[in-house]
């Protein structure tokens, strides 16, 4: 293909909104969604009447997209996406909204994730309904069902293959906690030391408590419109510079016997080509972090460091604020809260607007925001965002 990718810089994020993060929202996921959307509309200087497209992802744990559309009073819905999936789909929702806007299907698409992930549907909890997958039958009878169990199975392979140790995982949690301490929205703001990390209880070996994300009640909304229209709105546009979807793999994917590499490795070149950048151009990376090892694996699989070098990359301070590639500047799912990747996208927007306060990465112009890198789910996604300067 010659010339720029047809999606590049055509759509932009015009508004971002958050609800409060808590362990008990006391309200429905519909109410959470509408509150976050209202905040994003206010941020953009738009009203509900401007929205003509809706897009969300969920795992039977949140209100349907069309119910949100009806609640917004949209009578002529031009684009709707109600994607079954967890964090692997977070960036694909925004990438799809950008495609809808770039092709003219819709003018203004609101993306959101709304969950009572602590007070209603606990991903790692008991009483969880069976996921919509035929593969569950081969796992559930053995007591192998929840995300920490499934990720622990891959993690051991990664640790064994690259001789990564507990303290290497701990440094990821500690670095992100340090970032969260400067984030008023974050649920976990107390200092975390290595001895605290190592003393935290096992959830499922080789994952400890502080390797796991925070199940959170919250919603985050992001409004995507054309770059031209965004330039006339209240806030500086953040361009959707590139997007890619990828093919994940799980333990049932015959012919994919390598358990230590994520699907991001195959997707990353396509993503960077779509945006016309490379790993060295990324100023800040918000990497999906349901569990600490995912950060290390994505650092390698997106090409920020070599195979087996991610632990040293983190130990050298590269991923801390002030380092070569600040990662999860909001604290991530580990310490800010778990909004299934939408909060990573929102933080990337804050960074590219120069809005991140004491967490601001100086001069940040290009950001990577990723979805869960493809384990378990069978899919992955990511976007490259760019400030419009």
């Amino acid at each position: 293909m010659s010339g720029a990718h047809p999606l590049r810089d055509r759509a932009a994020v015009a508004g971002v909104g958050w609800t409060e993060y808590s362990k008990w929202s006391g309200v429905s996921t519909l109410t959470l969604a509408l509150r976050a959307i209202a905040a994003a509309l206010e941020d953009a200087g738009l009203t509900h009447a401007d929205i003509d497209g809706v897009a969300c992802h969920r795992v039977a744990d949140s209100v349907q997209a069309v119910v949100v559309a009806q609640s917004l009073g949209i009578t002529d819905l031009r684009y709707h996406l109600d994607l079954f999936g967890g964090g692997s789909c977070s960036a694909s929702v925004v990438g799809s909204a950008a495609m809808a806007v770039a092709t003219g299907m819709a003018e203004c698409v609101v993306c959101w994730r709304a969950v009572n992930a602590r007070s209603e549907f606990r991903m790692g909890g008991t009483g969880r309904p069976a996921p919509d997958t035929v593969e569950f039958q081969y796992q559930a009878p053995y007591g192998y069902a929840t995300p920490p169990q499934q990720f622990a199975m891959y993690t051991r392979s990664f640790l064994d293959t690259y001789r990564v140790g507990a303290e290497d995982l701990g440094r990821v949690a500690i670095t992100q906690r340090r970032h969260a301490m400067d984030n008023p929205r974050a649920l976990m703001r107390a200092p975390l030391a290595m001895e605290d990390y190592l003393a935290s209880r096992w959830i499922v070996e080789p994952l400890r408590l502080f390797d796991c994300c925070l199940e959170t009640d919250a919603a985050v909304a992001i409004i995507v419109t054309s770059a031209e229209r965004a330039r006339d709105l209240r806030r500086p546009p953040v361009l959707v510079s590139g997007a890619a979807f990828g093919s994940g793999h799980n333990l049932f994917s015959n012919h994919r016997g390598d358990l230590a590499t994520t699907a991001a490795a195959a997707m990353a070149p396509r993503l960077f080509a779509s945006a016309g950048v490379g790993p060295a151009d990324i100023d800040v990376a918000e990497l999906y972090d349901a569990f600490t090892p995912l950060v290390l694996q994505q650092l390698e699989d997106y090409g920020f460091c070599g195979r087996g070098e991610s632990a040293a990359f983190v130990a050298d301070g590269a991923t801390a604020l002030g380092g070569a590639l600040p990662v999860n500047t909001h604290g991530g799912h580990l310490s800010e809260g778990y909004v299934h990747g939408l909060n990573h996208l929102a933080e990337a927007v804050s960074q590219l607007r120069g809005d991140a306060g004491v967490r601001q990465v100086a001069g940040a112009e290009v950001a990577l925001s990723t979805g869960q890198p493809g384990y378990v789910a069978g899919s992955t996604s990511a976007v490259v965002l760019r400030s419009d300067r």
């Binding site: 039958q137 051991r156 499922v204």
Partner: protein, 151 residues
């Protein structure tokens, strides 16, 4: 054994013959009639050559440990922690990974990647009229036996 509140496998039309074989204490795999590639779990199409013709064939029951987890947190009252779940690469084709319980130590201290293992079967008591059911329990391979040779 009794499942005692544990999830029963949600057997469906593709998988029913595999579960029926397991209940007879037979481990079977699908094999493509066109390119001889093994596959599991059951799927109508060969994901290597695309052919729809296939047959169930017996597997040796041998494998090696790909990974394992030691459950410490109680995710469900039906499973007493600690307990191990293993992921086994089957001997027939090392990109096929199958799960099961572990017949060895409850803390997994006797496990390492590459350990040779053999399949065992736990019969599960079922209600009268229900199909018989067994689950996989992998065990260390006997030291004096040789793994199956072969293709």
């Amino acid at each position: 054994m009794s499942l005692d509140g544990r999830p029963r496998p949600a057997v469906e039309r593709d998988s029913a013959p595999w579960w029926a074989a397991l209940a007879r204490h037979e481990l079977v795999l699908q094999r493509c009639a066109a390119c001889a590639t093994w596959r599991w779990p059951p799927r109508e199409m060969c994901n290597r050559c695309g052919a729809l013709s296939w047959a169930w064939e017996p597997a040796s029951g041998w494998g090696t440990i790909a990974s394992w987890i030691v459950n410490r947190h109680s995710f469900s009252d039906a499973f007493a922690s600690p307990y191990v779940v293993v992921a086994v690469r089957v001997a027939e084709q090392d990109d096929i990974v199958m799960f099961g319980s572990w017949a060895g130590a409850a803390d997994g201290s006797d496990l390492h990647a590459g350990l040779a293992v053999v399949a065992g079967f736990d019969d599960v008591s079922v209600a009268e009229g229900d199909d018989p059911l067994a689950l996989l329990r992998w065990a260390p391979a006997p030291g004096d036996a040789a793994p199956p040779g072969g293709s």
